[in-house]
């Protein structure tokens, strides 16, 4: 049932709207709307009941273990929400003078400074509104840096084939061509191929470390020498920072620019796909190019810095300051954890991943890189299971939903056949991990005994497998009252 189908003409919520006012006269007729939009006419109770019922059709961290690889679905502490939503914070207008926001700006400044230390970078901007915007700004800064030196020949951004799709897409948005670097059989960047690819056209290399294959690039110091030796810059995609938070700093690995995903590593809620925040950090030579605004502590208090203070900046990414409310939540998280708590994030995320990997191996699953340590995530490959039983990775993922677990990431990275990318995060207990292993073991047995049961899963969710092909061929993106249910 759609909210529109609950609508009854003339039903109102007078309490939520202002008292009726006369028809407007100061707007010319030709600029006015002639018929009302298709919005539902429902009571407050109708709306509350409808959207509460919809929420109950979701899997979420609050209701289910959510081991979605590369997404860091850890518990989002309630205190972070509650304290970021204090009434004064919510009511403040973005264009209000800085002296009406000293409390807010103090949080922003301290977050900015903490992120500098955690990443080992010289300067940080909180402006990007998402990881992909962070990537865009990072690559734009690399380009601004080369341009500022008159080095226009650097037109290629190197991207490992295991990288997130956003990496090549961000490079292209900055006017670069993306060139793929292959991965060797241990899951590392192929050093020989990298050596052969770098040159005077290399703008930089975008690297996720630990990689999306769930392993640490142990030759990172060699990679650094190869890229810098060719005059390129090194970009750190912070998607997997949770694995090494408080243990290893990207700045120490030689990275020139990084972005962080606060909705992953700093536990701000994912909100059904956003909002996030993607701050960027840089070393000293890229600092003049950081996106705006920046938060400064000057005589007389905290201040937002704009174009006048940073004339070389790549510019602004949002109309205001970025996703301020997300940044506030991350700030509270940082304060609750402290230095020690942050180090434990990396440690226990890694412990949980390695424990889960050991448990699944023991249960008969094949992992993609058995000779390697897991970072905070690892890959199970179901290639053999598919050959034996016809049960694919997607089938196992769907069957997990029946067992009360959200599915891991499937079919990414593209390099490993029939893969599940599994990231338990540090906030899950041993007992939850054990229950997950038990469910996976059951599915393995089901796949052998009754493959159809798994291939037709899920059986218990509000809908069963959806017809994606029909969705794409017969596009139905907007409800039309004529079509009915």
């Amino acid at each position: 049932m759609l909210i529109f189908e609950l609508s009854r003409r003339g039903r109102r919520n007078p309490t939520q709207a202002p008292a009726a006012v006369p028809e407007v006269s100061a707007i010319p007729e030709s600029l006015r709307r002639s018929r009302p939009p298709l919005l539902p006419e429902v009571s407050e109770l109708d709306a509350v009941r409808h959207y509460t019922a919809l929420s109950q059709k979701n899997f979420s961290i609050d209701t289910h273990f959510y081991p979605l690889g590369s997404c860091t679905m850890k518990y989002n502490p309630r205190a972070c929400d509650a304290l970021a939503m204090l009434p004064q914070f919510l009511a403040r207008h973005p264009a209000a003078p800085d002296d009406t926001g000293q409390g807010f700006l103090a949080c922003m400044y301290e977050l900015q400074e903490t992120l500098k230390e955690v990443t080992g970078m010289a300067a940080v901007s909180l402006a990007p509104m998402a990881g992909a915007q962070g990537e865009f700004s990072g690559v734009a800064m690399i380009r601004a840096y080369h341009d500022s030196r008159g080095d226009a020949a650097r037109t290629e951004m190197l991207v490992p084939d295991a990288a997130h799709g956003t990496n090549p897409a961000s490079a292209v948005m900055c006017g670069y061509t993306a060139r793929e670097i292959p991965t060797d059989r241990h899951g590392n960047v192929d050093l020989a191929a990298l050596g052969a690819a770098v040159g005077s056209r290399t703008a930089g290399l975008m690297l996720t470390n630990p990689s999306t294959l769930g392993v640490f690039e142990s030759a990172i110091l060699d990679i650094e020498k190869i890229v810098h030796g060719a005059g390129g810059l090194l970009y750190y995609d912070g998607a997997n920072l949770n694995a090494i938070l408080g243990k290893v700093k990207p700045g120490d690995m030689g990275f020139d620019v990084i972005h962080l995903n606060l909705h992953k590593t700093f536990s701000t809620p994912h909100g059904g796909g956003g909002p996030g925040a993607g701050p960027v950090g840089v070393n000293a030579k890229l600092a003049p190019f950081l996106p705006l605004p920046l938060v400064a502590l000057e005589k007389g208090g905290y201040r937002l810095l704009g174009e006048r203070a940073a004339p070389l900046s790549i510019g602004r990414l949002s109309a205001h300051i970025g996703n301020a409310g997300v940044l506030l939540r991350a700030y509270v998280y940082v304060r609750l954890l402290g230095a020690q708590g942050m180090r434990r994030v990396g440690e226990f995320a890694t412990l949980n991943a390695n424990y889960l990997m050991a448990g699944l191996k023991k249960a008969g699953f094949e992992v993609a890189f058995p000779e390697r340590r897991a970072s905070h995530e690892f890959i199970v490959t179901l290639k053999r299971l598919k050959e034996e039983t016809g049960v694919a990775a997607m089938d196992v993922a769907k069957r997990l939903l029946d067992k009360g677990f959200h599915a891991p990431t499937t079919y990414f990275p593209l390099l490993v056949a029939e893969c599940l990318l599994i990231e338990p995060t540090e906030t899950e207990s041993k007992q939850t991990l054990d229950a997950f292993v038990a469910a996976m073991k059951e599915i393995l047995a089901e796949a052998r005994a009754d493959p159809e049961l798994v291939k037709k899963a899920p059986h218990t969710t509000p809908v069963r497998r959806l017809d994606d092909v029909r969705a794409a061929r017969e596009l139905d993106l907007v409800w039309n009252p004529a079509q009915g249910e």
């Binding site: 103090a106 949080c107 708590g341």
Partner: protein, 464 residues
């Protein structure tokens, strides 16, 4: 340990199962030189109680003001039910609905949202949202250039929000797209159709048309959209979604409507919150849907024929198309959209129109009161929605500081963004202001600029 549930016994059993002696051993593939540099400057942990006290003190230091600033972010009443429902953990702590069967709640909300936005703008289709209004405009510019194929230039009038223009510049400049300005008429405050004459017949991908524009003034949208079409360019509408409850929607501009409509969804139930998170929306003609960036939800059926919702048209997106994607965007602002959907459902078509009409009536009353003060006048004669530019005889900054001392944020000083306007101030009144608020502002302003305050009859008065 904050948010880590492990007992000593658990840790021991887990290390044994892995076959290592300590957690530190799990990091042995990382070069030793890189490990354990510590965080000497990061403060020690706070308890929840300590953190709460710190944050409350900071929030209280920021205080409360009677706010008359708009400029792209608007103070509106948000019904209590909106965030009580949107903040439920099942919405809050879910992720992008890749596993459709486990995400029907989020997906159906997005489908309802797409329907509401398409209807509000009278466009064929809408996506599941973008980051904010400014970046949505940048994406629309890129989309128009992709779809137009031949032209790489876009007309971006000076009446578009200056921050939006800066964001567009940041995002499109590296793709060789040139932004060409169009001046506004100094008397009316909107783009004069004559100002477009020099560009007629040239190769441009699009004309951007804000409604209302940055000055709060309404643009002659029919003429502008028809001119763009006659000159073989797309019309990109930048609109305030709340205003569309009473203003002509982009899909009906001119003879054939705008091609792409974008804007910031903040007025639809999203708190001001120092600037975010808000959400950007985008709607377009059916023919352009495959050029549209961002998530899109479609309705389909499951294996039993039961209706259900799923992400669709994903082949345009970065996770499949990589370097050839329509954009690098990888999320929408799901939670904000959930709140906006509930907001629109609660208000309904009449409620939304009532909010818009009250905003309009309030700003007219405010302007009546303020321009009755000697030395305060409207800068432009064009019709407005809920915001307008005032011109003072003296510099604006000291006046705003004096108002602030009285607990009033009197508007946005345009000295920095529009120096050509002289001592200009952008003021806004939404439905949240009552008659006393409007009088209070006028009273203080009159006193501050040292002139006698004479209340004037105003054009429209709300009935009790």
């Amino acid at each position: 340990m904050p948010f880590i549930p492990h007992t000593e016994e658990d840790i021991k059993a887990m290390l044994e199962a892995i076959g290592v002696a300590s957690i530190e051993n799990l990091f042995d593939e990382i070069p030793a030189a890189l490990r354990g540099r510590g965080l000497p400057d990061t403060p020690p942990p706070l308890s929840e109680m300590e953190a709460a006290r710190l944050m409350r003190e900071r929030a209280e230091a920021d205080g409360h003001y009677l706010n008359f600033i708009g400029a792209g972010a608007y103070e509106h009443h948000i019904p209590a039910a909106v965030w009580r429902i949107a903040a439920r953990g099942e919405f809050h702590s879910a992720y992008t609905p890749y596993q459709a069967e486990a995400s029907q709640g989020t997906l159906q909300v997005l489908y309802e949202y797409q329907t509401m936005m398409a209807s509000l703008t009278e466009m064929d289709v809408a996506n599941a949202s973008l980051y904010d209004g400014a970046s949505a405009l940048a994406e629309a510019v890129l989309m128009a250039a992709r779809a137009h194929k031949s032209a790489k230039r876009v007309l971006l009038p000076a009446t578009v929000h200056p921050a939006y223009r800066k964001v567009v510049q940041t995002i499109v400049r590296n793709q060789g797209i040139e932004l060409v300005g169009v001046p506004y008429a100094p008397d009316t405050g909107h783009v004069a159709p004559e100002a477009l004459a020099p560009f007629a017949g040239q190769d441009f991908a699009a004309l951007v048309v804000p409604q209302p524009n940055f000055f709060g003034v309404l643009e002659p949208v029919d003429e502008l959209a028809d001119w763009a079409r006659a000159n073989r360019m797309f019309t990109i509408a930048v609109v305030n979604p709340l205003a569309l409850a009473i203003l002509k929607p982009p899909g009906e501009w001119g003879n054939s409507g705008a091609d792409i409509a974008v804007g910031d969804g903040q007025p639809l139930g999203i708190p001001l919150a120092s600037g975010g998170p808000y959400f950007g929306f985008m709607a377009c003609r059916k023919e352009l849907v495959r050029q549209m960036p961002g998530r899109i939800v479609g309705r389909t059926v499951d294996v039993d024929g039961k209706p259900g919702y799923t992400l669709t048209l994903q082949a345009r997106e970065q996770h499949i198309r990589r370097s050839k994607a329509t954009s690098n965007i990888c999320t929408n602002q799901g939670l904000m959209v959930t709140a906006a959907t509930i907001y629109m459902a609660l208000l309904g078509p009449q409620g939304l129109a009532q909010v818009a009409r009250t905003c309009h009536a309030n700003v007219l009353m405010l302007l009546g009161n303020l321009t009755a003060i000697e030395g305060v006048e409207r800068a432009f004669s064009g019709p407005i929605f809920h915001e307008a530019v005032l011109r003072l005889k003296t510099p604006v900054a000291p006046v705003l500081r004096a108002l602030q001392a009285q607990g009033i944020l009197g508007g946005l000083n345009l000295a920095h963004d529009c120096p050509e306007l002289g001592h200009a101030l952008l003021v806004c009144a939404t439905e949240t202001k009552n008659e006393e608020d409007l009088m209070l502002y006028a009273g203080h302003l009159a006193r501050i600029i040292g002139r006698r305050f004479r209340p004037a009859p105003c054009a429209i008065k709300p009935k009790p």
